[in-house]
């Protein structure tokens, strides 16, 4: 990063600017050395350009011409004392005059060099009242100083001729002259609408001042007429500065060669600025450093705060407000907090707390149930799902302390021996994760190959959802569906007893021929139980509040329990390619059938009806036989 160049400021350079209707005139003055030197005189459109030009010339001291209309002029008499004492005396007079109503920065003081006698001198007080706006421009820097026009007129006041500035817009007339009584500097205002009358008023003021200065009336009148006749018309009125005065001023200051000093027109515009430039360098310098506001360090927030609350009335109010705030704020904050929190609450606080205590108690009850209870309906369902085909359970004992004790028989099936079937059940019990440490004991098989066994198991996790595959889950696939596949809509409508519990017959005379699940499905999922036709009450037909109601969640059970699903049959049997149509049978033949035979035939009819392209007559006959078989099975059960 390139280091920034140090800012160089030429402290001897002064820029004196004057506002002229639509433009700003800037006179650059080099004040160092024995004599000041005017470097340039140029016009700018705005004060911003003026400051830029001054900064470009490495100057920082900007002085703005302050109008006479916003200046109080006072010439006072001072005792003949040392210079420092004289300034003090002048200051005392100024304070006596202003009574502290105007800040010191707006007051310019300077002793006038003329000596009136052995014991008297004159002093000049220029005041910029706070009520007077002066030159108002937002672009004027806060550091700018102001030179009142009377101070700029001082170098032009000679004994030969008075100096005059008349501003038509404000009606202000500034007169300066020397006479027997010393210097007279007078600022007056002539407010008349008529231009001629105003000029006459200006002449009257001038004449009066001349007479006061000791001129005889004739001389005074001649001098007044001469001044007015020689006066130069300016944009704002007219200006009466004699050529001798300009010549005298030229001797007080140097000019750059580029400045047309000999051109009278140049002086018409720049005379006052040159006068101000001379005033900044001499004894009148004290008159050229007026400021709009006192120069001081920017107050900190603490300073402002202390300043503000040093007022007793304000501090009492603040204390009272603080006390109120101390009282109200916590209440208000607490009320808002409670309101927001209450809005979050689902009910009134005490009811909510009561409800939460109830929930806590229920959680404790669930913990106790998890440790020492067991959901027996669920476990019977899980047990049913773990019982392999070919097993008939005779006794079930479920106890948290003693675990599971089963007694039953296992009959050899076409694919496995009875002992293998029991082993399969043991494996399925372990896989369920509900039971553990399963042990089984067999008695020797009887002549028919039926094993009587006793099975013991520990109840490991009674509340956990059992790990049962879908094809073994009674809640997902009913016994009928396992046996013959999914039933069509008309089959389920005609067969209300196809629910797992009711559809499974038991044969008291021949237990060996009873399906292995004769008992276990009876305690299969509670949903299946409560939706069975023999439990028709509203309570029992609704979804159970306990146990795992998987039955409800599985669409196949709807058809099985009598719901009209209307879904197409997609069971494995429907995909069979060539299924023989079962033969017709008479009523006598039907009566002669055993249950097993009837069930086998109903299975054949179910498969046959799923064949595509059946003739309507054949389908009708099959439906008819189906109904006859169902009636027969119903009557048998």
């Amino acid at each position: 990063m390139k280091p920034s160049e140090p800012i160089t400021i030429d402290r001897s350079l002064i820029g004196i600017a004057a506002f002229q209707r639509n433009s700003w005139n800037l006179l650059l003055l080099q004040g160092a050395g024995e004599r000041a030197r005017v470097l340039s005189a140029s016009s700018y459109a705005s004060i911003g350009e003026v400051t830029e030009a001054l900064h470009a010339a490495k100057g920082a001291d900007l002085r703005i011409m302050h109008p006479t209309s916003a200046t109080i002029v006072k010439v006072v008499r001072l005792p003949m004392v040392a210079a420092s004492q004289m300034k003090q005396a002048l200051k005392l007079q100024a304070e006596g005059m202003l009574l502290g109503a105007t800040p010191a920065c707006r007051v310019g003081l300077a002793p006038i060099p003329d000596v009136l006698g052995l014991d008297e001198r004159q002093g000049l007080i220029l005041v910029w009242p706070e009520s007077a706006a002066g030159i108002v421009d937002r672009g004027i820097p806060s550091t700018a100083q102001f030179i009142p026009e009377p101070a700029a007129l001082l170098p032009f006041i000679t004994s030969d001729a008075p100096a005059l500035i008349a501003d038509r817009a404000s009606g202000t007339v500034l007169l300066g002259l020397r006479g027997d009584n010393g210097m007279t500097l007078r600022s007056t205002r002539e407010n008349t609408t008529d231009d001629a009358t105003w000029r006459a008023s200006v002449r009257g003021s001038l004449l009066e001042s001349l007479l006061n200065a000791g001129r005889d009336p004739a001389t005074a009148a001649n001098e007044a007429d001469r001044v007015l006749a020689d006066a130069i018309e300016t944009q704002d009125g007219f200006r009466g500065i004699s050529r001798s005065a300009i010549s005298a001023v030229c001797g007080m200051i140097d000019f750059d060669a580029s400045i047309p000093v000999d051109d009278q027109k140049w002086w018409n515009t720049w005379a006052l600025l040159v006068g101000a430039a001379i005033a900044t360098q001499g004894e009148f310098a004290g008159l050229t450093e007026l400021r709009r506001e006192e120069e001081h360090d920017a107050p900190t927030i603490t300073d402002r705060l202390i300043q503000r609350y040093s007022n007793r009335r304000r501090s009492i109010k603040a204390a009272a407000a603080a006390v109120l705030l101390l009282g109200i704020a916590p209440v208000l904050f607490g009320w808002m907090r409670v309101s927001v929190l209450e809005w979050k609450l689902p009910s009134e606080l005490s009811a909510f707390e009561r409800q939460q205590r109830g929930v806590d108690r229920r959680v404790a009850i669930y913990k106790e149930l998890a440790n020492n209870g067991m959901p027996v309906a669920k476990m019977l369902g899980d047990l049913a799902c773990c019982t392999a085909d070919g097993i008939e359970l005779v006794s079930i004992h479920l106890s948290k302390n003693q675990g599971l004790v089963l007694r039953g028989t296992a009959r050899t099936q076409s694919d496995a021996a009875g002992s293998d079937i029991v082993a399969r059940m043991v494996s399925q019990l372990r896989e369920s994760k509900i039971f553990d440490a399963v042990t089984v004991s067999f008695a020797p098989p009887d002549a028919r190959g039926i094993y009587v066994f006793t099975l013991n198991a520990e109840i490991e996790a009674p509340t956990v959802a059992a790990n049962i595959p879908e094809d073994r889950d009674w809640a997902v696939k009913t016994f009928v569906e396992r046996k013959w596949g999914k039933l069509s809509a008309d089959e389920t409508m005609e067969a209300p007893t196809t629910a797992p519990v009711a559809a499974l017959p038991t044969n008291p005379t021949n237990p060996s021929t009873t399906p292995a699940t004769a008992v276990t499905p009876a305690v299969a999922p509670p949903t299946a139980v409560v939706t069975a036709p023999d439990a028709p009450s509203a309570e029992s037909s609704s979804t159970p509040t306990r146990g795992i109601g998987r039955r409800v969640e599985t669409p196949p059970t709807e058809g099985a329990t009598g719901g009209a699903t209307g879904e197409p049959v997609t069971g494995p049997a429907s995909t069979a390619v060539a299924i023989q149509l079962p033969a017709e049978f008479t009523d006598d033949e039907l009566k002669a059938m055993s249950k097993e035979q009837a069930r086998a035939v109903i299975g054949e009819i179910a498969m046959a009806r799923k064949q595509p392209g059946l003739e309507p007559a054949v389908l009708e006959r099959l439906n008819k036989d189906w109904k006859r078989l169902l009636e027969f099975l119903k009557s048998q059960s």
């Binding site: 916590p330 139980v529 069975a532 023999d534 439990a535």
Partner: protein, 204 residues
């Protein structure tokens, strides 16, 4: 705005009068004039505003605590409790011993009446002895155990068991024996149905 300005102006007048009065007083009265308003302000704040504020803060804390507990309860539940909720379904908080016992027997009677089944019933009492449960409920917990024996068809038996377990008045079935009777094609069932009750009378 005009009203406020007028009020402010009146207030200023009063304050100026008070300051004027204060300036004229002796030192002791000046100190008293400072101390008394401060003391009065403190008393008003302490007994009025701050008491109210403290009550509001306490209520806010209670609500916050209740909301926080209810928010975090589920995440703090152990897995076995969650599975227990799924397996057992809704449960009721324990009732008094008399209420619990009569609700238990009434519930059993209703189930069996619905199934038109006769049953044998023995009632006994037992102490649970679970400290967690007792600390949550706030009193000792007993259980009324109904020893049931009945015979029914397999489907009716399973329906009765399921309905008994589903009854909110019955908290747990602790022991179950099923025996199939081939001669009658029925199942003999023995079970222990428990209702948990409070040791002292009345609900908690």
């Amino acid at each position: 705005m005009k009203f406020l300005h007028s009020l402010n102006s009146k207030l200023d007048t009063k304050i100026d009068l008070a300051i004027g009065w204060y300036d004229l007083q002796e030192r002791a009265i000046k100190w008293a004039a400072i101390a008394i308003p401060i003391l009065a302000a403190y008393i008003i704040l302490d007994y009025g505003f701050w008491t109210l504020s403290s009550a509001l803060a306490t209520r806010g804390d209670r609500i916050e605590a209740a909301i926080a507990v209810s928010k975090t309860r589920e995440s703090k539940l152990q897995g076995d409790v969650k599975s227990s909720v799924r397996a057992f379904g809704p449960v009721d908080a324990p009732a008094s011993k008399d209420t619990g016992a009569s609700a238990l027997t009434g519930s059993i009677a209703a189930v069996f009446k619905q199934h038109n089944t006769t049953y044998g019933l023995t009632i006994r009492e037992q102490r649970i002895g679970s400290r967690d449960l007792e600390s949550a409920v706030g009193t000792k917990i007993d259980k009324v155990v109904a020893e049931l024996r009945f015979e029914a068809s397999p489907d009716a038996a399973s329906a009765i068991i399921a309905q008994l377990e589903a009854a909110p008045e019955i908290d747990s079935i602790s022991d179950l024996k099923l025996n199939y009777q081939p001669q009658t094609r029925k199942v003999t069932v023995q079970l222990s149905a428990e209702a948990w009750t409070l040791d002292r009378g009345g609900s908690v």
